[in-house]
């Protein structure tokens, strides 16, 4: 190919093993100026390790790195940064108690002539940077007040502030709404035009074709395929990643739906302590029948998480108007424990923060919600506990060595199954899910969809919030679109596509045919 120009980055024969696990095996990888090179593979395929080698975080590797043809050896991350390589981590590395501006300039604060921190200049420059990233945030706001997606945009802005020549993005869109993803893509094309080379790691296949030029697929630490990203199909990519054809990703619900499990009628929450970051329910009307999977769509900040939290009894404290009933009985759960007793189970948005005790065993995490019920006179019989956990991991197909292994040693998808399994063990009538497939690889995603389908088949009602439109359309029977804490549309997924959902989420007034024909059930809720 372009053999006359040496690539911006060239990595040759990179190998790295952790103990007995070969994370990278003889990998060649290049990034050219002005291209986006997608790196694909399941969790544990070696993507992160390879990128940690490039960003100087892993230094005891084999193989060599060349920057613009010159051989270089990184001893510390700072060496890589000086060579113009910046990495946006999947885990957000921001300091919550500092403002956006302070985070961006952390370690390289601007000084006034008197030697004090020049806040004004930092705030102004941060404002410019955020604008370039397409984020409308006040640079003075504290990072802890921001939602996960907004924090992710700040990390991206922070990386941009380094003026890097090579930018590594590890799942940059995992917490972004569709609208923000579009903004990020614009930023990426600007960077491309200015000659920055980018590595793009994502599990979202549809993004690869749109944003990347080339794609390299890793499996078990080796390069197994390279593609022209613009011609890559999702099926090809998945097959290369998994090593075999992936069956239809989505489950299509065939369950005959039963009685209404959940009815929410014009629910408003008036919080005692209003917070600008939260979008509490402000006019929600919806219903979920037994055996039905209902999606919750909407942009980031539309109030999906807040709605699920309110239903589960852990929303903002304050007064309610409107009504919520579960199996025909009016309820107002206060606290997760009571909600669980009423028959709800909740899978929270971030399993690491709110879902799992990562150092504890799979066993302990799986049975946590039912240890009370298993106990006889306060004592938990070992055998019953073990049986329940074993049954759960088998039913959900959690891949593990031993049930006593720490849950943190499992892959993201399997961790998520443990959270789901814990909820399912309580025999819920209503399952509340907040972004259950976030940061989960494609194989595990398909399994989670299958599990939801099975739960629905057994008569569980499922309320499923997601910012991935493809999965909402693929998995759900109906989708409720939220905007500003209100339910604004209800769409029947057999009749509409992703574009309709996106349009409804963004409120651009695009006419959805199905709606115009009056075939969908919902409509504007006053």
């Amino acid at each position: 190919m372009d053999d006359d120009v040496s690539p911006l980055v060239e990595m040759t024969s990179i190998s790295k093993s952790y103990g007995g696990v070969q994370a990278c095996r003889d990998i060649d990888f290049t990034v050219r100026a002005g291209e986006v090179h997608a790196l694909l593979g399941e969790n544990g395929a070696g993507k992160s390790t390879l990128m940690k080698v490039l960003s100087g975080e892993v230094v005891d590797h084999q193989g060599e790195i060349f920057i613009e043809g010159a051989r270089i050896r990184f001893n510390r991350p700072i060496d890589a940064q000086r060579a113009g390589i910046a990495m946006i981590h999947q885990e957000l590395d921001l300091v919550p108690a500092l403002s956006i501006a302070e985070n961006i300039f952390l370690g390289k604060e601007l000084k006034t002539r008197a030697g004090t921190v020049d806040k004004r200049r930092m705030i102004r420059q941060t404002g410019e940077l955020l604008e370039r990233t397409g984020v409308a945030l006040d640079p003075r706001r504290l990072v802890e007040e921001l939602r996960t997606g907004e924090q992710q945009l700040v990390t991206i802005a922070k990386a941009l502030s380094l003026d890097a020549r090579v930018l590594i993005m590890d799942e940059p869109t995992s917490a972004l709404s569709s609208h923000e993803v579009e903004q990020l893509f614009e930023v990426i094309s600007e960077l491309r035009a200015s000659g920055v080379g980018m590595v793009y790691i994502s599990h979202r296949m549809e993004e690869i074709g749109r944003v990347a030029d080339r794609a390299t697929v890793l499996r078990n630490g080796s390069v197994v395929a390279e593609f022209d990203a613009r011609e890559l199909t999702a099926a090809q990519a998945s097959e290369a990643m998994v090593g075999r054809p992936v069956q239809t990703l989505f489950h299509t619900s065939t369950a005959a739906t039963g009685d209404e499990v959940l009815v929410v009628n014009d629910l408003h929450v008036h919080p005692k302590h209003p917070s600008p970051g939260r979008r509490d329910p402000n006019g929600i009307t919806l219903s979920v029948r037994a055996g039905e999977i209902v999606g919750l769509a909407g942009l980031l900040g539309a109030g999906r998480t807040e709605l699920l939290e309110t239903l589960y009894g852990i929303g903002s404290p304050g007064s309610w108007s409107g009504e919520v009933s579960l199996r025909g009985k009016r309820i107002r759960p206060r606290g997760a424990r009571r909600a669980l007793r009423m028959g709800m189970a909740f899978v929270p948005e971030d399993r690491r923060i709110a879902g799992l005790a990562l150092e504890h065993s799979v066993l302990a995490n799986t049975v946590l919600s039912i240890v009370d019920r298993l106990a006889v006179a306060g004592a938990v019989p070992r055998g019953r506990e073990r049986d329940a956990a074993q049954r759960s991991v088998e039913e959900l197909g959690v891949k593990l060595g031993s049930i006593n292994d720490p849950v943190g040693s499992l892959s993201g998808g399997n961790q998520q199954k443990v959270v789901l399994g814990r909820g399912m063990l309580t025999d819920p009538v209503l399952l509340l899910l907040d972004e259950p497939t976030r940061g989960v690889d494609v194989g595990a995603k398909a399994e989670i969809y299958r599990l939801l389908g099975e739960a629905a088949k057994r008569g569980v009602g499922v309320l499923f919030a997601s910012s991935e439109l493809a999965e909402l359309v693929g998995v759900c029977d109906r989708v409720i679109v939220l905007r500003d804490g209100r339910s604004v549309r209800e769409l029947n997924t057999s009749e509409v596509g992703e574009a309709d959902l996106l349009a409804a989420s963004m409120g651009e007034g695009m006419v959805v045919d199905a709606l115009a024909n009056g075939e969908a059930n919902g409509g504007e809720v006053a």
Partner: protein, 362 residues
């Protein structure tokens, strides 16, 4: 490019057709060696205890060819000396397991010793009612602290720092600033019933200290409870990830209050034992005991972050410190140096925890 791709894909899939799924969780069976290492770390305090014991044998002065360290009386002196700290440390372990801390236990010990002495000597109460009332006071004091931590979200460090001051003040007020001497006599109303003096004595031919038996009973009860009860699952879950525990239906507030109440109860019991052993209720007694109890817990391998640790480890930690002090004492090493050496042991124990094999991988 396309032929490249084809080649690689086929060879790879021919080698390991079905391995992909199994390979996804990065940690497979790590082999026996890793398990041995994990076990070593898990029982680090027991191994430490064994090491200190061996050191005791080696460095023991001997009299007429007999090692003083190994003498039955010396060994029981050791377990006697750690009884009060040990009882405090059992309660402290629970509090630390939920990610908390209780700085009030030393003052609470002093307060309890004074109250039990006053009730027995000045108020002529029977042993039963006096003990029960003191235990209830400890329980209530702990529960109150727990309620402040759990419902107002004030940090345990702050709440119990305040509790430490309050309990110390109460001890001085109750005793009028003076220690209360306990003398025994069943017929004399100004003396305590003789049965209370049993706490300071030794049973089985005057070998086994009663106070040690009380410590052993408390520890055994706690070890059992942390193994089998659903309550213990809740305790560990809160320490492991409080938010996840709450969302999973764990009654976080209730568990926290109970844990602090148990810790207060242990402190009150330790105060009773202390008074029985010394025949004295001392308003200034127990100063710094909270830190000694925390040291025993830390040396015992319990993580100050919560969620990980055992009472067995704590017992070993308390014994380790007691044994070390004993050995140093037998060798006439001054208490100043003892203090320094124990400080180093604490750092060592904490350091070992830091380098324990990472159980979490991303």
């Amino acid at each position: 490019m396309s032929s490249d791709k084809g080649d690689v894909t086929t060879t790879d899939s021919a080698e390991e057709p079905d391995e992909v799924q199994a390979a996804t969780p990065v940690k497979g069976g790590g082999g026996g060696r890793k398990n041995v290492v994990a076990t070593l770390f898990r029982f680090q305090s027991l191994f430490g205890l064994a090491l200190v014991f061996i050191a005791g044998v080696i460095f023991s002065p001997n009299v007429n060819g007999e090692l003083i360290f190994l003498g039955v009386n010396n060994l029981f002196d050791i377990v006697r000396s750690v009884s009060e700290i040990g009882i405090l440390a059992v309660g402290m372990t629970l509090v630390i397991l939920i990610g908390g801390i209780d700085l009030s236990v030393g003052s609470m010990l002093g307060f309890s010793s004074v109250v039990v002495a006053v009730l027995l000597v000045n108020e002529n109460w029977g042993v039963g009612p006096a003990v029960v009332v003191v235990l209830i006071l400890g329980l209530a004091f702990g529960a109150l602290q727990g309620a402040l931590v759990a419902s107002f979200g004030i940090q345990a460090f702050i709440v119990t720092l305040a509790g430490m001051q309050v309990a110390r003040g109460l001890a001085r007020i109750t005793s009028g600033g003076q220690g209360v001497q306990i003398s025994y006599g069943n017929d004399d109303p100004s003396k305590a019933p003789e049965v209370f003096s049993l706490i300071g004595e030794r049973t089985f031919n005057g070998v086994v200290p009663i106070s040690t038996l009380i410590f052993a009973a408390v520890a055994a009860l706690a070890i059992m409870a942390l193994r089998v009860t659903s309550f213990s699952r809740h305790v560990y879950a809160i320490g492991g990830n409080e938010k996840a525990a709450r969302l999973s239906g764990v009654p976080v507030m209730r568990v926290k209050i109970i844990v602090f109440a148990i810790c207060g109860l242990c402190a009150a019991l330790a105060g009773i034992v202390h008074a029985g052993y010394l025949n004295f209720g001392g308003p200034n007694d127990g100063t710094m005991f909270e830190l000694k109890a925390i040291a025993a817990v830390v040396i015992g391998g319990t993580s100050l972050m919560g969620g990980r640790g055992t009472v067995l480890g704590t017992v070993a930690g308390a014994l380790l410190v007691g044994m070390l002090e004993n050995i140093l004492g037998l060798n006439n090493i001054k208490s100043d140096w003892q203090s320094i050496i124990i400080g180093l042991v604490i750092v060592l124990a904490a350091g070992l925890q830091r380098i324990r094999p990472a159980s979490v991988s991303s």
